[in-house]
Symmetry: C2
Subunit: 334 residues, 2 copies
Amino acid sequence: MKITIKDIAEISGVSTTTVSQILNNKGQRFSEETKRRVMKAVEENDYNPDYFAKNMINRESKTVGMIVPDVTDLFFSKVIEGVEAYLTKKDYMILLCNSNHSNEMEKNYIKQLLNRSVAGVILASPNAMELETSLKSSPYILIDRGINTRVEGNLLVKEYEGSYESVQYLIDAGHKKIGMLTNESGYYEMTDRYRAYVQCLKDNKLIYHGEYIEDGPVTIEGGYEAAKRLLERTDITALCCGNDQMAIGTYRAAYELGLKIPEDLSVIGFDDLEISSYLNPPLTTVAQPAFEIGYTAATYLFQSINSPEQKIPNRTFETEFIVRGSTTTVDKKK
Amino acid sequence: MKITIKDIAEISGVSTTTVSQILNNKGQRFSEETKRRVMKAVEENDYNPDYFAKNMINRESKTVGMIVPDVTDLFFSKVIEGVEAYLTKKDYMILLCNSNHSNEMEKNYIKQLLNRSVAGVILASPNAMELETSLKSSPYILIDRGINTRVEGNLLVKEYEGSYESVQYLIDAGHKKIGMLTNESGYYEMTDRYRAYVQCLKDNKLIYHGEYIEDGPVTIEGGYEAAKRLLERTDITALCCGNDQMAIGTYRAAYELGLKIPEDLSVIGFDDLEISSYLNPPLTTVAQPAFEIGYTAATYLFQSINSPEQKIPNRTFETEFIVRGSTTTVDKKK
């Protein structure tokens, strides 16, 4: 049986409020004798005042809420790992919330996190703008995703530049029929990657073909389905996938349609998941530092919790274009 | 600014203890007038008593701790998804702990979780036996892994039967030189899968070759390194991988060594991750229900929290052998 504050109060013959105040260094008004008695009971019974009880006085839960769209998404599990790696050093823990991309769930989670007096929130959501009002009473960091109105605590990635570089690479390799897999459910980075694609074609005086674009969920299966539709109706020679997971799905679609990568189809991803360099052929992709993003988010949130008067920094992460075996040059006549 | 219990106490002219007791239905000794005044202040100020404060009376944190060896492991992220899916329906949240396979970290996490008065713990660890003593004061469920001394609350998978079936399949397809990738860091299921391999060879009167076995971390990279060593020193025609992630690494190793799957090497995994059916060729594997395991663990833990007098059930999950494109028959002369 765990010793509770009530037990300590009974043993030392005082109220739980008295015990609580003495343990939280707010017991000035009590006699030395009372304090001694309480501390003796605490020590003898190996009582460990828990954070929930402490919190009533300190409002310090040493707990941080984290909301992600999909905990099984390989990018986000790496971000979570980064957040955890920093917070655990500070004796903070994560209340993890899996929103399944649902705005309704996100709202509900924020309410529940605030009910639990979390010290702060890390939020990865396409719906950030709408959610910010409900977060006003707590420090928070917006991760990676989200058009938002905030001037601090935003962690962004150079999506546009990264995507532009990959499309330019394909054009330089002779590709003219370049497709793209996108996702139109509001994720800003997908929009940014798509905008870069459009602009890069334009800058290179290539015609934009609406039928070269296909939309789908940002998952392996989503990429598979989208790529299949796209490859069945067009004769593109290269495909920029919304992320690495969609690229993995594309490998499967190409295989089923008898297209060889990269001979018949060059494929580029976005993320550089661990698995991507192990694919057959290894995936050419735009790397973004998922672990570092998580680690930085946790660092900034911790600063914000402990120095609320200071402004939270913003940070934009660079991408890196990594050429592997899934892309090749194409006969210019094609 | 968030309204606190102190604010409510001030507004209604009573102590925080009084507010707390009234809100927790322990305010019988207070007058109707006092109760009315407190409830009015609560309603008018939209005060939401937080779980931490409530907990001091109720010891009900509506929070569950979950410790996994690796949050980026594709199997565990699916288990977490299952746990979350059940608990969120019950308004419970998960404090997620990533132990990095470290026993030291696990011990520290358990301490921290108990400090935070979690309602229960879900533990996935190879070190379960040792950890159980520290968990005695809390309901807990052991997930999937772990030789342990407990007679209830164990969720296991038919590792042995699943592995045996896969080795028998290869033998029936004519393979005689069958290798295995294992992990010797204490995960019981890896030991079970290995034991089944040894027994199946024996039952089929095939000679066991120590050099056909290679050990490595249960990751993609671990599988890649182990498979490379194994394939360089032997001429095996089939390989049973410790899990699907190791199989993904094996694909890469085989590719680099100029071995075609399945023509030169049949490969079998264990888990059936989402990605496995999208590999090229799609992976033959032993499926285990990761989401269902997590969901069941959460269900049992919830029961255990709310009906501590009842025994927690044990459950053993079936596996399913799924034949895809990574295995083929072999010339019996080989």
